[in-house]
Structure formats: structure tokens, C-alpha cells
């Protein structure tokens, strides 16, 4: 089975802070990491490979430094990694990004399964996975927590608001995975050493069969008009009391007087 995992290198948004004076993001010292959901995607691919045999290729569209993220996936156990990088991809929104990634996947010939994380923690759009599926004209199941493959039948559990759906479908397929799918493994020392020796090829726009009009800024229907820091909620009342009992009583009284409960 040939599996492609799409990953993204993202700033660790849990480490991002806002400068209280200038109201802008402080990015210094914020580490770049593999998008957490994408690690679940890599883990899912590795587990499928262990079970059904096959090959796991990890790809990422991004600047040259995204090679670091790919290296981490190789260290986890992926067979190969390819960086999709070109100035022409700059300013891509989800449509242009998915077009570029889908073009790279098409170049690989027959691929059975494409796995993406549910969403990236910097953009949180959850769009690139389904859009890759559309560009490739294959089926998709998003937000899955379990996958079983039995011959030609793929059975997945998809999360929705009230529970799970059991869905049957077939390959080729795009899935996006949740955190609850698995626990991503840590790279071993041996894996890291092996990863360091591996060459990560870089594919540019010229290496793929692409329409330049659909790349980067040109191929992006959406434009960012404005970036601003959100309005902060105003801090309210800290209930001062000597004991927990008193504080709780004051709170209940305040809430019921305000007709909140």
C-alpha cells in the first residue's frame, strides 16, 4: 500500500505571546514544530504500513526550513520525504496549497491513501485535506479516530457532534485524523541517525505538471484584508472572602440576583 502523509511546519502557537505595548505577535523564540495533528497522521500511516506493508511518503509545502519538520517524520519511521518549495507558491491560500500538494501527489503515480491532520494549529482551516481529495477526484472522510482495511473495504470511525459514524468506503481515499486516533511515537536514536543520512528532494513548480495561474497568490481566491489583535475580555470581579464556603455563597447570590442562573 502506498501512503502519502501531508504535513505542515507551524509555529508552536501555545508559545506565541502578544506584545502588550505594540499589540503584535512576539515570534522571537517561538519554536517551529510539526503540526501536532500531522504527527497523528504520520503515526497512522506507520501503523498501517506495519499491518499491511507498503511505503510511507511524507510531503510538505513550505520554505526550505520545513525540511526540519520532514526530517522529524523520517526519524519517526517514514520511508521518504519530499519538500515542495518554490517562491511561486508564496501567498497560497488553502485552494492554491491543496492544488500544489495534489499536483505533487499526482506526480507520484498510484497512491492508495492520503492522510492529513484534522487541521493545522496556525490556520485552523481544516480545508487542505478535503480540497486535495477534490483535486484528485477521490473520496474523503474527515475527522476520523479509527481505520481498518479489509481487502478492498475501508472501515473508519468519523467523529461528529453527538458521537461517531461508522463509514465504509474504498481506496484511493483521503482521510483527516484526530488526536484520539493514536499516540504518535517518538523518534528513536537509530531513526534519527538514519533520517539525518536521508536526502530530502525538493520539488519546485518546474518539477510538476502545474498551471502557473493556480499557484501562490495568483491561484488564491481569498485575500487577507487586515490582521488585528482580538478584543480582550474585560476582567471582572474576583470574589474576596475568607473561606471557600463564603466565596461560593457570594457567587451563587451574585449570579442569582443578576438572574444568570
Amino acid at each position: 500500500m502506498k501512503i502519502v502523509v501531508c504535513i505542515k511546519q507551524v509555529p508552536d502557537t501555545t508559545e506565541v505571546k502578544i506584545d502588550p505595548v505594540t499589540n503584535t505577535l512576539i515570534r522571537q523564540g517561538v519554536p517551529s514544530i510539526v503540526n501536532p495533528f500531522d504527527k497523528n497522521a504520520v503515526e497512522a500511516a506507520l501503523q498501517l504500513k506495519e499491518k499491511y506493508d507498503g511505503k510511507v511518503t511524507v510531503i510538505s509545502m513550505g520554505p526550505p526550513q520545513a525540511k526540519e519538520a520532514l526530517k522529524e517524520c523520517l526519524a519517526m519511521g517514514a520511508d521518504e520525504a519530499i519538500l515542495i518549495s518554490d517562491r511561486a507558491f508564496g501567498g497560497s491560500d488553502t485552494l492554491a496549497t491543496s492544488y500544489t500538494l495534489a499536483s505533487a501527489i499526482k506526480k507520484m503515480g498510484r497512491v492508495d491513501l492520503i492522510i492529513c491532520g484534522k487541521q493545522a494549529i496556525d490556520g485552523d482551516t481544516a480545508q487542505v485535506g478535503p480540497e486535495i481529495a477534490e483535486h484528485l477526484d477521490v473520496g474523503q472522510v474527515t475527522c476520523i479516530s479509527k481505520i481498518d482495511i479489509d481487502g478492498s473495504i475501508v472501515r473508519v470511525e468519523r467523529e461528529h457532534e453527538e458521537g461517531y459514524e461508522i463509514i465504509e468506503t474504498q481506496l484511493p481515499l483521503v482521510i483527516t485524523v484526530l488526536k484520539s486516533m493514536n499516540e504518535p511515537r517518538y523518534p528513536t536514536v537509530k531513526g534519527t541517525m538514519k533520517a539525518n543520512r536521508k536526502e530530502i528532494p525538493v520539488w519546485t513548480a518546474n518539477d510538476m505538471d502545474v498551471d502557473p495561474e493556480q499557484l501562490g497568490l495568483k491561484g488564491s481566491p481569498t485575500q487577507v484584508r487586515r490582521i488585528f489583535t482580538p478584543k480582550q475580555r474585560v476582567q471582572g470581579l474576583i470574589i474576596q472572602a475568607d473561606t471557600a464556603r463564603e466565596a461560593a455563597a457570594v457567587l451563587v447570590k451574585t449570579l442569582s440576583e443578576a438572574k444568570i442562573v
Partner: protein
């Protein structure tokens, strides 16, 4: 539009480097250099003290006649013929957009025997309903619904489409946007009309809620967006309102649907529908161990609310993911939100900041959760919660 540095004017002050929210600018030979991570947001244009960074307008080859596209559509998500609450919220907001644009508001209903929902859709503000019915649309499927919705778009050409940022909305939206080749703004928290262009201004959080971005879709139609549940208030329904039902025959063939729904396992029907709850009691790392969640459950019970959890509590395995509130969990907007033993990381706040009232209980007086709380108690949750439960019980009896 692209952002360019006029290198000969750049003095190398690197103000743009610190301003860029995407870290897309670095210094090369003492000059600012914009890398491919640039999204052309323009933050650096304003930050450059000498005006050495400019926006360049690129001529786009636009194939579509935008004037052909009129009207605001709301995708009426349903399950077993029951409309999701977010649909009403979207109809309320869609009504405002339609009025501002001087155009009509329509609901798009896809399902099996769902015509009865039209009355509800009209009462929340729609002028029209597009209806596609058939057994192949009984349950949601990516292929079936994408086919039906794109056919409608090609025939009736709406200018704007709103969908709920639900699991199905987030599955369907990108697939449809990609098929018709347009832009989709995900998880919006604010909508409006841009003064200069008359386009829909879609505002959404990014970077885990650290910044907000307003997005436009200037040259492609329809302009599409998903909107988080509970961000907008549900409009007052006027049941005397009526409208036109446009029945359309779906062209999707059952065998073209590549996924087959075998079973729906309802882990909880209401107890984990956090998105539509009025009262949520959430616990975090401060609950210390899973057994202590009993207190959270009891308080939720007394108040008639549901149980939420922070990512820390979910990662520790104390509560299933379905209860997680925050950036990687659910976005909620109840009337009252209790954060018990939750520190209030920005990712958590991003998921609950549209709550009307926030009550925080934490033993750390410096916990960031107090910055967003309307009422706070500095104290040990294990001491405060039992008392709170008692007091609410008493309060309930006296009412």
C-alpha cells in the same frame, strides 16, 4: 496583491520583521526580505517607517462575471429532519447581509422528506428555499451533498454562501469551494460588508486565537464561509413569514457516493452537545484526578448544564475528546461557562470566549483564566465546588 520591499529604500531597521504576524520577513544583507510564507496581509506596509514596503496590485485574469451572482444562501444542515441551531443563527446573520446588499436570502435544503423544515427556515428570515430531496440524500455524504450543492450553485449563482462550522460543514465547505474554484473562509466569528469594496468581510481567529484576520474573496463567486455555532444570536422567529420553495431535481446517482454510512453511534445525544448548550461546567488539570470530575458532573447536573474539559484533562484521559473545549476541541458560547481548575491558555480561551458569563475557580490567583472571567474565586476547586453545588441546590429549592 503582493507585498514588495523597495530594497533601495530599505534602511534595515527590521521593524517589519517584528511586526509580521507570519514570520515571513527576515533580514538579508541588512535589507528586509519577504519569504514565501507571506500572506500579503499588509501589516508590514503600515509598520515600515519610511514607506519602503508597498502593496502591488496584480492584474488578475477573471473569467467569471461577478454580476451574474446574486443573493445570500444558507446551507440548512439537518440530521433526521431536525435543523441544527447554527442554521438559525446563520439565517439571522444572512438576513443582515442580504439586506445590506439589497438581495434575497435563501436556505438550501438537501435531504430526504425534509420539506417540512421550510416553514422554520422562512420564519428565521429566508425569502426562498432551494429544495433537493431523495433517498440518496437521507444521510449526509460528502459526495452526495457536494454534487447537489454545486449543481445548485451553477444553476442559480449565489453571491454568498454561509455554512455552520460543524463537522459536516467543515467537510462539505472545502469540497464545494474547490469544485467551483472559489475561496472559503473557515470558522468565522464576525461577518460584515467591507466599506470600500462591498464584499463580504469574513473575520476569523488565527494562530490559536492570538490574532484575528479579516478575509475577502474579491474575484471569485460565490464568496463562501463557515461560521462557528453560537457566535451569532438566534433571531426571533416570525412564524407568519412565508416564502417560495424552488424544488430542484438532484442529479447525484447513488452509486457515485463513495462512502456508505453503516451506523451512527450516539455516544451522547445532549450531554456532549456542548456547542448548543446554555450552561457548561468545565474541568481542567486542577481537578487533579479523574474521580474528581464527579464534582464537575454534579454541578452541571444541578444547573441543568453539560460537562466540558480542557485539553489537559482530555489528554490525561479523564474525559473523552468530545467534551474538549478550545482550539482543537469545540467552540462554545453558553450563557454561563464555569472554568474549574483551568489555567486559561489562549487555546482554551479561543474556544469559550464568546460565552456570555465566565466564572473561574482556580487556586492560582495569577492564572490567565481570571483575565477573561466575569466572576472569579481564588481557591482550591476541591473545596469550592462542593460548596457551590450545595448553594446552588439550596438556591434552586428556594425558587
Amino acid at each position: 496583491m503582493a507585498v514588495k520591499v523597495r530594497t533601495n529604500q530599505c534602511v534595515g531597521c527590521s521593524q517589519c520583521v517584528t511586526t509580521c504576524p507570519f514570520g515571513a520577513i527576515n533580514m538579508q544583507d541588512d535589507k528586509a526580505y519577504i519569504t514565501e510564507t507571506c500572506t500579503s496581509c499588509g501589516a508590514c506596509v503600515e509598520a515600515c517607517p519610511i514607506g519602503a514596503i508597498v502593496r502591488e496590485v496584480e492584474e488578475k485574469v477573471v473569467k467569471m462575471d461577478k454580476n451574474d451572482y446574486k443573493g445570500v444562501w444558507v446551507f440548512v444542515e439537518q440530521m433526521d429532519g431536525q435543523i441544527r441551531n447554527v442554521v438559525h443563527e446563520l439565517l439571522g446573520e444572512g438576513r443582515k447581509l442580504a439586506d445590506a446588499m439589497g438581495q434575497e436570502l435563501a436556505g438550501v435544503m438537501i435531504g430526504d422528506k425534509v420539506e417540512h423544515m421550510a416553514k422554520d427556515v422562512f420564519s428565521s428570515g429566508a425569502d426562498k428555499v432551494y429544495l433537493i430531496e431523495g433517498p440518496e440524500y437521507k444521510d449526509y455524504s460528502t459526495d452526495g451533498y457536494t454534487g447537489a450543492l454545486t449543481d445548485l450553485i451553477h444553476t442559480y449563482k449565489p453571491s454568498v454562501i454561509l455554512m455552520g462550522a460543524t463537522n459536516n460543514g467543515r467537510d462539505l465547505g472545502p469540497r464545494v469551494a474547490c469544485r467551483v474554484g472559489t475561496g472559503l473562509t473557515a470558522d468565522c466569528t464576525d461577518l460584515g460588508i467591507d466599506d470600500q469594496t462591498g464584499l463580504v468581510a469574513w473575520t476569523r481567529p488565527a494562530f490559536g486565537g492570538n490574532i484575528m484576520a479579516t478575509i475577502l474573496c474579491p474575484d471569485h463567486r460565490p464568496q463562501m464561509g463557515t461560521v462557528r455555532p453560537k457566535v451569532f444570536k438566534r433571531p426571533e422567529q416570525e412564524f407568519s413569514r412565508t416564502g417560495e420553495i424552488v424544488r430542484v431535481t438532484g442529479k447525484v446517482n447513488g452509486k457515485d457516493i463513495r462512502t456508505k454510512l453503516i451506523d451512527i453511534i450516539r455516544v451522547c445525544t445532549t450531554s456532549c452537545n456542548l456547542e448548543e448548550s446554555e450552561i457548561i461546567v468545565s474541568g481542567g488539570r486542577g481537578m487533579c484526578k479523574p474521580e474528581n470530575f464527579v464534582l464537575i458532573e454534579e454541578l452541571a447536573n444541578v444547573l441543568g448544564g453539560v460537562v466540558g474539559a480542557s485539553r489537559a484533562a482530555v489528554d490525561a484521559g479523564w474525559k473523552p475528546h468530545m467534551h474538549q473545549v478550545g482550539q482543537t476541541g469545540k467552540t462554545v458560547g453558553p450563557k454561563i461557562y464555569f472554568a474549574c481548575g483551568i489555567s486559561g491558555a489562549i487555546q482554551h480561551v479561543a474556544g469559550m470566549s464568546s460565552s456570555d458569563i465566565v466564572v473561574a475557580i482556580n487556586k492560582d490567583a495569577d492564572a490567565p483564566i481570571f483575565k477573561v472571567a466575569d466572576y472569579g474565586i481564588v481557591g482550591d476547586v476541591m473545596e469550592v465546588l462542593p460548596v457551590l453545588i450545595d448553594e446552588f441546590k439550596k438556591n434552586k429549592q428556594s425558587c
